[in-house]
């Protein structure tokens, strides 16, 4: 059992000093900054994201355009800051849905056991075996690319790892003495899950959910890069990279800026998760 697992399967403890350290890490600050920028972007004194300028195409940084302009003369800074809104919003919605789905499937499988567990886990294995980007491409091509469709598909594709982890973690907890004691005192299944199991698997599950968030973020950006995610003229990081790559040698910033934002968010989430896991706190 890893340190992470051992720490997380112990009955819940009060926060250790490490928790504060984790949430104050550089990664956490960057994640917070990203989320804050995505929320406040419409109120910042930026150029309109869709405003085109035929006299300022593929220009370098200037006082009017701090990060230059793209191939339609649009402000790269404004589009980069707005670019996090669709990606982060869609990734959060998808990962929340994936977490709910994964938790429900994992808990049902671990509590029910027997053929229910067998059926749920085999279906789970099938979903795990499917290449998620390929499924996303097929769905976007044949069903559509509305946000609802993409969120549902992403949640379905990224719930199985969470379900498997929840099942494994809860099976581990369910054999512990404090669970036996709770059962002896007549605790219902609902009480057992909410009061005993959930607090003890929260750490590993949140870690997994955070990891899945970064995968979903990258998957959606990849889909946009391939032309099947966000619709132009929406500012979205993957789409911005696709639109700017043809002119990268003349004007690199329309490509570099969204790459930096995407990479920094993914790295920051991963670093925060690593930090909080090694601190033994969720």
């Amino acid at each position: 059992m890893t340190d992470l697992a051992r720490a997380s399967f112990e009955p819940v403890k009060f926060a250790a000093p490490g928790r504060r350290r984790a949430w104050l890490s550089v990664g956490a600050v960057i994640v917070f900054g990203h989320v804050l920028l995505a929320i406040v972007a419409p109120w910042l004194p930026l150029q309109p994201v869709a405003k085109q300028n035929s006299g300022a195409i593929l220009q370098g940084p200037s006082a009017a355009h701090w990060l230059g302009t793209d191939n339609l003369g649009r402000d790269v800074l404004a589009r980069t800051l707005f670019g996090g809104r669709p990606s982060i919003g869609l990734a959060v919605a998808s990962v929340v849905l994936a977490a709910v789905l994964g938790f429900a499937i994992g808990m049902v499988a671990s509590l029910a056991g027997g053929w229910v567990d067998e059926v749920l886990m085999r279906v789970n294995d099938v979903l795990l075996a499917l290449p998620s980007l390929l499924v996303l491409l097929l769905v976007a091509s044949f069903i559509g690319r509305d946000s609802g469709v993409l969120i549902a598909t992403l949640a379905l594709m990224y719930a199985p790892p969470i379900a498997r982890l929840v099942r494994t973690a809860s099976l581990n907890v369910l054999t512990r003495d404090f669970i036996v004691a709770a059962r002896l005192r007549g605790a219902s299944r609902r009480e057992l899950v909410i009061s005993e199991v959930l607090p003890n698997i929260r750490g590993v599950v949140l870690t997994e959910v955070a990891m899945q968030f970064t995968w979903i973020l990258l998957a959606f950006s990849s889909l946009s890069f391939l032309g099947l995610g966000a619709n132009p003229p929406t500012p979205e990081w993957g789409l911005m990279i696709a639109e700017g790559r043809g002119y990268m040698t003349i004007a690199p910033l329309p490509v570099v800026a969204p790459i930096v934002m995407l990479a920094s968010l993914v790295l920051a989430v991963n670093s925060t998760v690593d930090r909080s896991s090694s601190d033994g706190t969720p």
Binding site: K51, L72, L228, N231, P232, G246, Y247, T249
Partner: protein
């Protein structure tokens, strides 16, 4: 100490070896560049490519190097002799007689004569083969060899501009009976013979010393395939190729140094459009259609989509600036006029329009993005819907209510009949304009050039009032080459004389 000496000696040998190899490479490069022109080719139709000039998958960079037409075009697109030395028609323009050049040899040594010309034209107009050239020359109902150097063409209707249509870059002459071999082992009369045909790798051509217009100045031409346009641009910048036949106008900043590169901007007849199906509401109302077209600042839109100097605005006419029948209208942005037309049509609060597009070709997505911004003040709210590139021409084009279109350069007579005539197979909007059909019939069968020109002008003016096709611009092709490449005039590829090109 000995070890150190040995090491030094070894290093010296290695350095000397490298210098020798580098010198050899430089020498090879220098010798290659003295007589070899390397032309970048995009992936085009990939492994399906063929050297059959009448096939839809023709390997376009090379067909005009290997084959010749009956009639060519000059720098100003005037028909000039190529394999035919003169031509004349009867009074009603339905019969044309062409005199062919005597003594012209194919690459295999056989003589080109009228039987080859009949064979070639029969293949172009064969309804079963359904060549794309048929859309241009389908008006020819019969080709006959009168004698070895006299060819008679009978048309189904009078066509004053047949010589212009015969100058289509695909209307090339192939040897009689060559249909099974021409695709992979082409035999033509052109300035270069194909020695290696590899459309996914590098195709190679060598000079034809017996070319009837004079031996080529180049020893050979190589055509490496570079699928990605960014890579092709880098290949030219890095000296791996000498010539990019076409690149994005916005990329020319890379080639700003005139000591290293020559950039040619060539007005062309290629155009993009947004088509509105007239059998779908609200586009069945001509007031809505006109509002959608006049709400745009065409110069600004052209500059945004194609870059500064990237194109020439047009008032919904597909007839380009180099065509003698070009109509120059006044189509300034008219927001108030558009609002009024929409209000009259029952849309006082503006209108919502969904336009389908795809990145199947350059500029198709940018066009809708620019259009979307331009028409906002008129209350036209555009929803851009991206369609899958792989099925765009089959599932979206001519099917959705509003969609982006793309056409290559065609002479006026051809493009007006091929796209706008009510009965045309490729009439993308389904518009049935009987008055326009009659005007087209009258124009093409008018023998007097001045009267014919006036009729074509009237046709385009009529179209501007009624059409369902918004055509904002004709593209300016940007051709870039290393400065050492000489002899390529700034004219469309159809008119380039490959035998006159040299590499310094």
């Amino acid at each position: 100490m000995h070890r150190h000496r040995a090491s030094t000696l070894f290093s010296a040998v290695v350095v000397a070896g490298l210098v020798t190899v580098a010198t050899a490479c430089a020498g090879g490069s220098s010798s290659a560049s003295s007589g070899v022109l390397r032309v970048a080719n995009d992936a085009g139709t990939g492994s399906a490519s063929t050297m059959d000039p009448y096939d839809g998958n023709r390997f376009w960079p090379a067909i005009n190097m290997v084959f010749d037409r009956l009639i060519g075009v000059d720098k100003d697109f005037t028909p000039i002799p190529e394999l035919a030395t003169k031509w004349e028609s009867n009074a009603d323009l339905t019969e044309w007689t062409l005199t062919l050049r005597d003594g012209v040899k194919f690459h295999d040594g056989s003589t080109f004569d009228s039987a080859d010309a009949v064979y070639s034209i029969d293949r172009m107009i064969d309804p079963e083969f359904d060549s794309p050239v048929r859309a241009v020359l389908g008006i020819i109902s019969k080709a006959e060899a009168i004698d070895a150097t006299t060819l008679k063409l009978t048309l189904s209707a009078g066509e004053a501009d047949l010589p212009v249509l015969l100058a289509d870059y695909r209307a090339l002459m192939t040897p009689e009976g060559s249909k099974d071999s021409v695709g992979k082992a082409p035999i033509g009369t052109g300035p270069f013979t194909m020695t290696t045909f590899d459309p996914e790798g590098t195709s190679k051509l060598t000079a034809n010393p017996d070319y009837f217009l004079g031996a080529p100045k180049l020893a050979s031409i190589e055509i490496p395939t570079i699928a990605d346009s960014t890579s092709a641009t880098q290949a030219l910048a890095g000296g791996q190729v000498d010539l990019l036949l076409s690149t994005d106008a916005k990329s020319t900043a890379l080639f700003a140094d005139p000591a290293q590169f020559t950039v040619q901007r060539i007005p062309s007849g290629d155009w993009n459009a947004i088509d509105f199906r007239v059998d779908q509401k609200p586009f069945d109302d001509p007031r809505v259609r006109k509002a959608l077209r006049i709400a745009v600042d065409r110069q600004a839109l052209t500059d945004i989509v194609l870059g500064p100097d990237g194109g020439v605005p047009t008032c919904d006419s597909p007839v380009w600036s180099g065509d003698p029948y070009r109509w120059v209208g006044d189509c300034k942005q008219d927001i108030e006029g558009a609002k009024k037309l929409l209000a009259d049509a029952g849309f006082p609060d503006g209108i919502d329009v969904e336009i389908f597009t795809s990145d199947v070709e350059d500029h198709m997505v940018d066009l809708v993005q620019a259009y979307q911004e331009q028409v906002k003040p008129a209350g036209i709210r555009v929803k851009l819907t991206m369609a899958d590139a792989s099925g765009y021409w089959d599932d979206v084009w001519m099917k959705e209510p509003a969609f982006v279109d793309s056409w290559g350069q065609r002479p006026a007579a051809q493009v007006l009949n091929e796209v706008f005539r009510s009965t045309a197979t490729w009439n993308p909007t389904g518009q049935q304009d009987i008055e326009l059909d009659a005007m087209l019939d009258e124009a093409r069968s008018t023998a007097d050039a001045t009267q014919r020109n006036a009729k074509y002008q009237a046709i385009q003016q009529h179209m501007f009032e009624n059409t369902a096709i918004f055509i904002p611009y004709h593209k300016t092709l940007v051709r870039v080459m290393r400065a050492k490449v000489k002899g390529i005039d700034p004219i469309v590829i159809d008119a380039v004389r490959w035998e006159k090109i040299e590499v310094g």
